[in-house]
């Protein structure tokens, strides 16, 4: 009796194990396939960047690695493509940085303060205000782009960093996440701080901001990438080549065959590579915080 049942048990176990393994192989196959699919454009970019433009034009993407990397890099970063000679890669990188950072930090500061007001102060219409802010999620920039443009134009903020950043700075997403976070901060902590003599501003700076660290990091990633990748808005607001961002500037480079000009594949792809690098670095750097901020509540 016991022998038989033990045997059956063993069989069941082996069967379970092989089945489990098959499943793992299958899962991994899907994952590997998916990541290859996503990596492919990146690999093509990498290849193009090292090859002379003529070759790329003739052969398309190949498996050979060329020798033009440094030349393409120099062209992309230090040579201007426009008439004014100011939209070098370096300059565009700077503009993109200012936009990305200003956008992310601005949204975090505004979102935190809005959430602070909504959660901690007995405002008469706090809930209503919150839901009003929340519904603006339904009105992305594209919907209100003409009025926004008009306002910026009337304020004389065309071709300025303020004009690029300020109209986009109010964030329902950040307000929402910070509100949820603040509501999870234990009541006792607030009371202890009150007894310890921390007023509203002290409480915010001494306690709430440090507690929100991980949340801030998470928001920073999302907002930085979002701001960095803005295309439509900078295209409308910046007409001055001096103000171009990377994402917008790539478009400027000749990519089609016109007359005697060979499309500058190497240069354009180099800029594209540079444009994806900072968001990737930000994500890698803040990754562990990101997960913590959105999942953990360690208070």
């Amino acid at each position: 009796m016991t022998d038989i049942s033990a045997h059956a048990h063993a069989i069941a176990q082996t069967r379970k194990r092989t089945w489990f393994k098959l499943e793992t192989v299958f899962d991994h196959a899907i994952l590997i396939l998916g990541s290859l699919l996503m990596l492919l454009p990146l690999l093509i970019m990498l290849q193009t960047v090292t090859t002379p433009d003529l070759e790329t034009m003739k052969l398309g993407p190949t498996f050979t690695i060329g020798t033009e990397l440094d030349d393409n890099f120099r062209k992309a970063m230090f040579e201007a493509s426009g008439f004014s000679g100011q939209n070098t890669g370096m300059n565009m990188l700077k503009n993109s940085m200012i936009l990305g950072l200003g956008f992310a930090l601005g949204k975090i500061v505004i979102g935190m303060m809005a959430a602070y007001a909504i959660v901690y102060f007995r405002l008469r219409f706090a809930t209503l205000a919150f839901w009003l802010i929340f519904t603006t999620l339904l009105l992305p920039l594209e919907v209100r782009i003409l009025p926004s443009y008009e306002i910026v134009q009337q304020l004389g903020m065309m071709n300025t960093y303020q004009g690029l950043i300020i109209p986009l700075i109010a964030s329902a997403t950040a307000t929402f996440f910070f509100r949820q976070f603040f509501r999870s901060v234990p009541e006792e902590l607030i009371e202890a701080a009150r007894i310890d003599g921390a007023g509203p501003i002290k409480f915010f700076i001494d306690i709430l901001v440090p507690l929100s660290q991980t949340m801030i990091a998470a928001m920073f990633i999302i907002m930085f990438v979002y701001g960095w990748n803005q295309y439509l808005w900078p295209t409308m607001i910046t007409t001055d080549e001096n103000m171009y961002t990377l994402v917008r500037g790539i478009k400027q480079i000749v990519q089609t065959l016109e007359g005697n000009n060979i499309p500058e594949f190497g240069r354009a792809n180099m800029l594209a590579l540079i444009a994806i690098l900072p968001p990737v670095l930000v994500v890698i750097f803040f990754q562990s915080w990101f997960v913590k901020g959105l999942t953990e509540s360690d208070k």
Binding site: A192, A193, D196, D298
Partner: protein, 366 residues
């Protein structure tokens, strides 16, 4: 150090719930007062009103000579220890303790000295640079105590500070807190729903029930002379036995027990008997059917029925016991009588001279 006076202090929450009915009491300088009562009876609300974390709907509250109804918590000269410690998670122990002083713009060297003194007093020296998350529950609670001590408050407020600790640590911290309070001599108000904590720590106990003060008294008064059936059943483990008896013509009768006494009441009464005031007596008047013997090491508890009513008897460990029929006797001088409807205690004058209680002479022939 200060006295605390409440004059008809009342709390009605915005949703209309009256959490504390008008309550008045006075706490002397240096006194350790425990607020005790079942969950939801308004202990925390009362304490939080004293702390200034909750508005006082009506009445006046004074700490020291000052009426503080409208004074900010930070300016009431109080310190509070919370149930969940409420330590700032991102600050080191040192910073946690110093935060209140820093906000008061205390000079740095004074802060350092006070933190060092408190840390020494609470055995926290080795942990000053740790974060609260790296401490055990007991250590965290000590940090919370440290934060309270360094402020040199006139009044300590504790809201169930030990209820998150395990039983052993709770006993230890209970003694530590009490000793510390004795040493510092700071007036303290301590909220708990644990009647053991209340009995052991308090100079005076305030028993609350449903937002009302049921009784104020020393632990011994509360225990031996409960003002109502509520207090009788709430204080003491096991609680006082409450059974239905009958009063007629100066005689109290319950299950074969007849005690002559003078009371201004006729008819049914509620009779209160502490389990330790009952003892086994082969010729005793009370016949009990024991259902269960609870072994507690230092003593035993017999649970059973007398004429269909539940009764618990407390026996010293020397006395053997088993389930089955048993005869009991009791010391009539320790009887309490309560009004059967209101539950309020009735004054009793005993006619009979109290007979000596004699546990040891009793045989346990169950």
């Amino acid at each position: 150090m200060a006295q605390v006076s409440l004059d008809s202090v009342r709390k009605i929450y915005p949703n209309g719930a009256e959490a504390v009915t008008p309550s008045s009491f006075h706490i002397e300088d240096g006194e350790f007062v425990v607020l005790v009562g079942p969950s939801g009876c308004g202990k925390s609300t009362l304490l939080r009103m004293i702390a200034g974390l909750e508005d006082i709907t009506e009445g006046t509250l004074s700490i020291g000579e000052r009426i503080v109804n409208d004074v900010d918590p930070a300016d009431r000269d109080i310190a509070m220890v919370f149930q969940n410690y409420a330590l700032y998670p991102h600050m080191s122990v040192r910073k946690n303790i110093a935060y209140g002083l820093k906000n008061r713009k205390t000079p740095k060297d004074v802060i350092d000295a006070k933190v060092a003194e408190a840390a020494a007093m609470l055995n926290l020296n080795d942990y000053l640079d740790r974060k609260p998350s790296q401490l055990s529950g007991g250590q965290r609670q000590r940090v919370a105590m440290g934060r309270a001590i360094v402020r040199d408050p006139a009044l300590f407020l504790f809201d169930e500070p030990l209820s998150n600790l395990d039983a052993k640590l709770r006993n230890q911290m209970r003694i530590e807190i009490k000793a510390l309070q004795r040493r510092l001599g700071v007036t303290s108000i301590y909220v708990t729903h644990d009647q053991v904590e209340a009995m052991t720590m308090a100079d005076r106990i305030i028993v609350l029930n449903g937002g009302r003060i049921e009784q104020i008294g020393t632990p011994s008064e509360i225990y031996h002379n409960p003002a109502s059936t509520f207090v009788a059943s709430f204080m003491g483990a096991p609680p006082m036995n409450l059974v239905a008896g009958e009063l007629s013509e100066g005689i109290l009768s319950f299950a074969g027990l007849d005690v002559p006494m003078t009371v201004d009441h006729r008819g049914p009464v509620t009779l209160g008997l502490r389990p330790e005031d009952l003892f086994i007596d082969a010729k005793g008047p009370i016949a009990m059917e024991v259902d269960l013997v609870e072994e507690l090491g230092a003593h035993r508890l017999l649970h059973g029925r007398v004429e269909g009513q539940q009764l618990t008897v407390h026996l010293a460990k020397e006395i053997a016991a088993k389930t089955g029929p048993l005869r009991l006797s009791c010391d009539p001088s320790h009887l309490c009588l309560f009004h059967p409807d209101t539950g309020k205690r009735m004054d009793v004058r005993h006619k009979a001279t109290p007979q000596a209680r004699s546990n040891t002479t009793v045989e346990s022939k169950a």
